[in-house]
Symmetry: C2
Subunit: 397 residues, 2 copies
């Protein structure tokens, strides 16, 4: 009781690399500068009208719902999954407050404090935060920009195994890399995980956003029912990030029972947002076709424009709406800050996320940035042009 | 990697005593039996129209908001707190997904793994779940039904202190007891916590529901700014439990910085629900007057009716809408189950929450139940009448 302290977790809890430069952006804007945001995956795509309209159906009392989510919503989700070839029933589905809570509850329930989870890096940086919350340790396994951040060979995974390894987390299609793993590579991972009694927790929130072929779900593999946990969210699918509805899907009943206990402790996910998410399932296919076409166009523009930057290493992303790009700089963190604080072109600048924060291994990704291609193509072109001009100027320093 | 296992947390993660009898209630209902729910704090009071209407104002893209909550909402909350004599500014307010997340984030940020938090029991059972999630240990301190579950003397707290004690959690007005702590008793607690460098985390979500005088906030005490953390929620205040908007209020900047890091990991609380919560702040005083009057009437009815049960110990609750009642039975858990599965009066029965689940000390509260007086007075009378008849019948067994 020496003195009032805060948690020791402060030392291991990272600041968001996506949001940490925000104060510099705020300052630039206060100076009247227009900032193109390539740093954050906030799409400008409209939320489906059918979902918006559902918010008008509010009951006279906004009550608690069941801890596992509204029955009608879970039932309706089964039809959505059927459509994308994922055979599940409603007892396999647990509704959460966003994909974030889905991952936290899965880590809390599948792993004991001090256990280890292997995650291919660069990875969605918030996995770190979720691991800190759940008291488990992240063991990174490095993927390479040269081969489009594909899954590393199983011998690399094997080298990371310890008696405390309990799970592997993948994001497929991948944030921040845009990688989409082939069925064959996933089958290798599944065999490896089955043999070593590991969970594979597969974050599939970008399922709809693939530009070559379709993404394979971890739930499609046979004889892997107890090991497979799928994380999902309505945020990106319906461009409804603020509605905070996600879910855990697994056939592991024992795991779900423990997840339910954590779910009961926090009572329930938001009720009205669930009603809206349920309505969203009837979004016409034409919506997704148009959205996918738009993103594909954006990806193509981003890829083409970035390739014009001398010295840049640009893997062509296959899915999601992110890409990690190598730049001819030593310290992309410093460059990103400088863009916001010092560089202006026609009173505009570009905000990117330094990629080092997406690596758990110290020292990796220092020359890389993550780009979210969530802007209209004309803005995207301008933003990348500014990046290119900035780079030339920056290197003169 | 011996075999696929679930987390060791399963052994310490309690099932909700409020919800665990739910399957029995479902079964009774499927048999056409009407069940009076005295087990759960789901009010039947209408959500203010001004809040419902706000759900109609949906932007075309439901975007992420700031991790700390919408700026306009935090600003507006300052005016609400001013009205209830809690002087804070918006930088002291962090918006969460319900009071649940507020407590989880506070425990994660104020305590290190393995640290201890003292909580007067019986307490809101989900504090246990939050403690498991945060990897901290609950040290209960027993309060007595004979003196209305008032705060124990400081010497009792002192006896619980160890080098790992970092915080005290109180709920004021209290769930499940209905106790409201006097300013004098709170001042003793504040002095004790200040002297021993402990946080006092005060769950004040039932602020509006006091039937004698007003509740004192932990934020009202001087020279205690860094130690005081207040937990709040819109769930009960606006009868909007399903909207899942809460907040943490504290003047401890260092603590808030770490809370923000956890907040960034989960991105943001639900956006549309925050807009609705902001609108709710303009709910006219007449709404609260009517609601309080209604609850006071219910409390009076519940108290009067329960006092008619021979052998019952019934403290008159001063706040919230719960009460813990001692019954002339050995095992209230068994009695509660039996009411649902075996007892019928005019094809109706009553569901209560056994109170043992609200105690952390094994063996305490075995003859007690928690009652939520959230029903209309005529239903409340019937429900308690059934309880009384059931008790007579049960004792004949």
């Amino acid at each position: 009781m020496g003195k009032l302290t805060i948690s020791s977790r402060n030392a291991i809890m990272q600041e968001s690399p996506i949001r940490k430069l925000a104060p510099l952006a705020v300052k630039a804007k206060s100076q009247g500068v227009h900032v193109y945001h390539l740093n954050i995956g906030q799409p400008d795509i409209k939320t489906p009208q059918i979902m918006i309209d559902a918010y008008h159906n509010i009951p006279p009392v906004i009550e608690y719902g069941p801890s596992e989510g509204l029955h009608s919503y879970r039932k309706k989700l089964v039809s959505y999954y059927k459509k994308v070839n994922i055979p599940v029933d409603e007892s396999n589905i647990f509704i959460t407050t966003g994909g974030s809570e889905a991952i936290i509850f899965t880590l809390l329930s599948a792993l004991s404090p001090g256990d280890e989870v292997i995650i291919p890096e660069p990875f969605y940086t918030n996995y770190n935060g979720f691991a800190v919350m759940a008291g488990v340790n992240v063991v990174p396994i490095t993927t390479k920009i040269e081969n489009g951040f594909d899954l590393p060979p199983m011998k690399d995974f094997k080298a990371k195994l310890t008696p405390r390894t309990k799970a592997i987390v993948i994001c497929n299609p991948g944030n921040p890399t845009g990688a989409v793993f082939s069925r064959e590579r996933l089958q290798e991972l599944v065999n490896f995980a089955r043999k070593n009694n590991l969970y594979v927790i597969s974050d599939e929130v970008y399922r709809e956003f693939t530009y070559e072929g379709t993404a394979t779900s971890i739930l499609e593999f046979e004889d892997f029912e107890d090991n497979a946990v799928m994380i999902d969210s309505t945020s990106k699918r319906y461009s409804a990030c603020g509605s905070r509805i996600g879910c855990i899907v697994t056939k592991n009943k024992e795991l779900l029972k423990l997840i339910l206990k954590f779910g009961q402790a926090r009572l329930c996910p938001p009720s009205v947002d669930q009603v809206a998410a349920e309505a969203a399932i009837d979004t016409p296919d034409s919506y997704f076709k148009a959205v996918k076409k738009e993103y594909q166009k954006r990806r193509d523009v981003a890829y083409t424009e970035l390739c014009r930057i001398p010295g840049a290493v640009v893997p062509n992303p296959k899915g999601a709406f992110y890409m990690v790009v190598g730049l001819p700089v030593k310290d992309a963190d410093d460059f990103a800050k400088w863009l916001l604080s010092d560089f202006r072109y026609k009173n505009e600048t570009t905000m990117v996320a330094p990629a080092s924060g997406f690596y758990a291994t110290e020292g990796l990704g220092k020359n890389q940035i993550r780009i979210a291609y969530v802007l209209k193509t004309e803005d995207l072109k301008k933003a990348i042009h500014i990046l290119k001009l900035g780079l030339t100027e920056y290197k003169k320093k």
